[in-house]
Amino acid sequence: MEHGSNSDNSKSSFSLVDEDHTLANAVRFTLNQDPRVSFSGYSIPHPSENRVNIRVQTTGAPAQEVLKDACQDLMMMCQHVRSTLDKAVADYKMRNQRDADSD
């Protein structure tokens, strides 16, 4: 859910339900690394409510698009992490197999 102004879409707060530090902190990280972002941060208004608020202020681009791009960046990073890890584990297993065979 987005809370923003009707006239200026470069500043918005986003309220995500059923999310916590896990996603919010990671998204804040990618948001802050985007040159279009002038401010971003997140808060959990109450610990017993499963909700985070993410604030995005940009230098002009629509905040919603910037947040979407941040999520997109995060997804691409995850995909790269996954493929790299799979490859590293496969390499390790193969190396150990070879060592075991040569012994």
Binding site: D34, M75, H80, T84, A88
Partner: protein, 408 residues
């Protein structure tokens, strides 16, 4: 020589700009022009491409001084170094170039690997998801028919709940309040008795739990025999036996190996336990019994740097100070001994080596590398640790996906 370096950095910038426009042309067509301008400025010969060494040290290392750690934060803001002309914004191609994974130790139960070139925000997200959001199967309901043992019903039920079940949770659906069927639950029964005269004591282990592929054997209401025209109603609604499903037909569910040795209770002569348990899919956020990892944690790579040559008695002294054996002594020419750092990875940052006054802090610098994580994942038994980690990463991806689709 300097001239050539500039030329090289120019070329690098150009290729980066090209790959940028390819990968992000769809998402950021608006920001393209200004970024191109930045690239041009950055490629000019008198613009520094690198941070000065002392700032680079603050950016990449946590300094563990005797009193307190320093420079513990990571610098995320894209324009943090704009005043010295260094771009700190996120580039996927840079991330891909720098990111590395090195497996240190791997077995079916646990693994240790180095994840290099990643921010703590991301590493911590993976750790949190591993502990609390990767699903497994665990015992949720215990129907106790008889329990004459010393252990109380509720304590017994709690102990049963915490037993890890070695079955791939991806083969099951969430029950979500629906009736239990062969696609969302596993049923076990436990019926043990310590026979008087035969045994003095009997230990009940997880391997005594017997899988019921046909579902529950207990009748939901025993006195409603009036409508006994059809099958009697039990606690589950299996449409077919689980062992007829292809995924379990040659791989029966049970508590094998180490998991089978988990002690549930001890019985005295004549005592008996008879019960049935229903396992369903869930996540660690709801209850720790669904957590797929015994634990998952990371630490940053320790770095021990000798700031000056340490020799002879001081070297021996420093070597003996370290409780984990980070330092070693090597013999150099004319009978001298010199201190070397042989096991920096073993350093626990106890700071024993720099505790006794400032002169020691001038000899040794203890640091941590901010973007180098030593991850350890201990699986509880449901899935191998590397699969758990890939599942965790996938879950973060789905989270991002759902935010994107919510906003569109």
């Amino acid at each position: 020589m300097a001239r050539r370096d500039e030329r090289m950095s120019e070329e690098e910038e150009e290729t980066e700009a090209e790959s940028m426009s390819e990968s992000e042309s769809e998402s950021q067509s608006g920001g393209e022009k200004s970024k191109g301008g930045l690239d041009y400025i950055m490629s000019l010969p008198d613009v520094p491409m690198k941070l000065p060494p002392h700032v680079e040290l603050q950016r990449t290392r946590v300094l563990c001084n005797a009193d307190a750690p320093n420079h513990t934060d990571t610098i995320q803001y894209s324009g943090a170094f704009a005043s010295v002309g260094v771009d700190n914004s996120f580039r996927l191609d840079h991330f891909r170039d720098k990111f590395r994974v090195e497996v240190i130790r791997y077995s079916d139960e646990d693994m240790e690997f180095d994840m290099i070139g990643v921010d703590p925000a991301l590493a911590n997200a993976f750790r949190r998801i591993l502990i609390s959001e990767v699903p497994t199967m665990a015992i949720e309901k215990v129907l106790i028919a008889n329990n004459t043992s010393a252990i109380q019903d509720e304590v017994l039920a709690h102990r049963l709940g915490l037993i890890p079940i070695s079955v791939d949770p991806r083969l099951f659906e969430y029950a979500d309040g629906n009736p239990l069927n062969e696609r969302n639950s596993i049923v076990f029964k436990l019926h043990v008795r310590c026979e008087r005269k035969k045994h003095l004591r009997r230990t009940v282990k997880a391997s005594d739990l017997k899988w019921l592929p046909n579902g529950s054997e207990l009748l939901e209401s025993e006195n409603s025999n009036s409508s006994s025209s059809s099958k009697p109603k039990t606690y589950t609604e299996f449409t077919c036996p689980q062992d007829s499903l292809p995924e379990f037909s040659d791989n029966p569910i049970g508590f094998k190996g180490k998991l089978g040795d988990i002690i549930i209770a001890k019985l005295g002569p004549g005592e008996e336990i008879e019960l049935e348990v229903h396992a369903v899919k869930g996540i660690g956020k709801t209850h720790a019994k669904w957590s797929p990892v015994a634990t998952a944690w990371y630490r940053m790579l320790p770095e021990v740097v000798l700031l000056e040559e340490v020799e002879d008695e001081v070297a021996e002294n420093l070597k003996s100070k370290c409780p984990v054996g980070v330092f070693d002594i090597e013999d150099v020419a004319n009978g001298k001994k010199r201190l070397t750092v042989s096991q920096p990875r073993a350093c626990t940052l106890c700071r024993e080596c720099i505790r006794e006054g400032e002169e020691w802090e001038k000899r040794v610098s203890l640091r941590r590398v901010k973007d180098h994580f030593i991850f350890t994942v201990e699986s509880a038994g449901a899935l191998p640790p590397d699969v758990l980690f890939t599942e965790a990463v996938k879950i973060l991806e789905t989270k991002c996906e759902s935010v994107i689709s919510d906003l569109s």
